[in-house]
Symmetry: C2
């Protein structure tokens, strides 16, 4: 098992993602835990993970973990649902540090919210085909049924700026993905990908009355509980420092990252040294 250097409650929270979508999770952490320092790593040179094999996703994730551990983080949040679904169990066996996933908190939240026991799930190919959400929900609530839909076009559409209400293309694609779930009578849907919170308003229009669970929001609630339980909550009263590292050129990331984070990343963004993680 790979060991971690010393950390304490003033050490940063580590967050990694296959790309920049994970910034929606960072946004939640900043809002809910404003005094925490954060080190974010986005593997933009190899994004997206969503259509890759399990073996490849595990290997990339190991490298992402090593990068964060080199920054002495106190806990690691896997922002990416794909990585969590495919690699978390392996990472937990190999790395001696608390790891917060994206799947388990969202699954728990959905089980709390559903009344008719029919839960919908949208995500990448890898997230859906892993069956991670289904297995977890069946364990938490064996009477729940999960109806899932892989949505490989949503990330590229969002990254092309097509995520606003009134965009006929994204609305048509999303409707094609969601209507089969609606036909099953779901009363709760999990947005199982960091990009999807940007489609919240359109999902709400297509599925009126359906409860919407965003994985980033749910996992931040769990992160706070976990830090408190481990006595690792930062008791500082100043605003936390945030650093953003990417594996590809930071300029692109700085431009698009602000859409996901809701604030500028430009001043705190740099390219990750490949020697640290590869």
């Amino acid at each position: 098992m790979e060991t971690q250097k010393k950390y304490d409650k003033h050490s940063p929270i580590g967050v990694f993602d296959s790309g920049l979508g994970g910034l929606t999770a960072v946004k939640e952490i900043i809002e809910q835990l404003p005094h925490e320092d954060i080190v974010f790593f986005g593997d933009t040179a190899r994004v997206p993970y969503g259509n890759r094999s399990r073996e490849t996703i595990i290997e990339y994730s190991r490298q992402d973990m090593r990068f964060l551990l080199a920054h002495d983080v106190k806990i690691v949040c896997i922002a990416c649902n794909t990585v969590d679904s495919m690699a978390r169990l392996t990472l937990e066996q190999e790395f001696d540090i608390p790891i917060i996933g994206a799947v388990s908190p969202a699954a728990r939240k959905a089980v709390q919210l559903t009344k008719n026991k029919k839960i919908g799930l949208i995500g990448t190919f890898a997230t859906v085909s892993s069956g991670a959400y289904r297995k977890l929900i069946n364990k938490l609530a064996p009477d729940c049924t999960v109806y899932s839909q892989a949505c490989p076009l949503l990330v590229p559409l969002i990254e092309s700026g097509r995520f606003h209400k009134g965009d006929a293309v994204v609305e048509t694609v999303l409707r094609d993905y969601l209507l089969p779930l609606q036909a099953q009578g779901i009363d709760t849907i999990i947005l199982g990908c960091t990009h999807y919170p940007l489609l919240y308003a359109i999902v709400k229009d297509i599925l009126p009355g359906v409860e919407i669970v965003c994985s980033g929001s749910a996992s931040t609630e769990y992160l706070r509980e976990k830090l408190a339980a481990l006595d690792l909550l930062n008791d500082s009263e100043t605003e936390g420092k945030r650093r953003f590292y990417v594996s590809d050129a930071p300029e692109e990331f700085a431009t698009h990252g602000s859409v996901f984070l809701g604030m500028s990343v430009r001043e705190h963004c740099e390219k990750a040294d490949p020697d640290i993680y590869q």
Copy 2:
């Protein structure tokens, strides 16, 4: 400069691409040069290259080249317009083997076809922003003007099966990309990405009367000329052998590859050994 082992006219042609789109170029080679053996490498574990930085694309391409050279190919075809635009000059300096690009043959063909000297270009972000087509066309025919449009959504749409006439989503997206070019009065358009031949019929509908140049078709004509000039055309009379290697799991590739190749790849497809190229 990296040197190549011995090869002769019976050695295979090497073709590489960031993913499986390059199979449209392989299809052209099989049709035009049926007696040639072919080794194809698709870097499916890191596809797509189109939105990555120049530096990253060059490094990945070097590794792709090394994989093919390890198979004693006699010539390398860069099927991917992005790699050609970003990395070919560097690769030519570093590797001692003839290299056929995708850009130069298509540019030459477009210059031959245009009458009003207004040429349109569609491709990935990287291909368009590199300016490779523009520079080359301006050199070949300084009186030509190139109007270009990056189309980051087309590859994901095609890979989601949305490439058939009558699909409102791909038709809307393509119309949004093409109408500004039409407004400029282009009489010729270059489909500057290996995936785009699958959209040929829709492009023809949106741009009636406009000449369409596919980069894979143009570069195969050039490949044949080059092999003849070097006395490297295979004089065998049996059908060539084709082997397909990918960096991610071959099952996915085998399923989707046939769409691009127009025939099954399953029997000849295997995972590339990372030790050979990384």
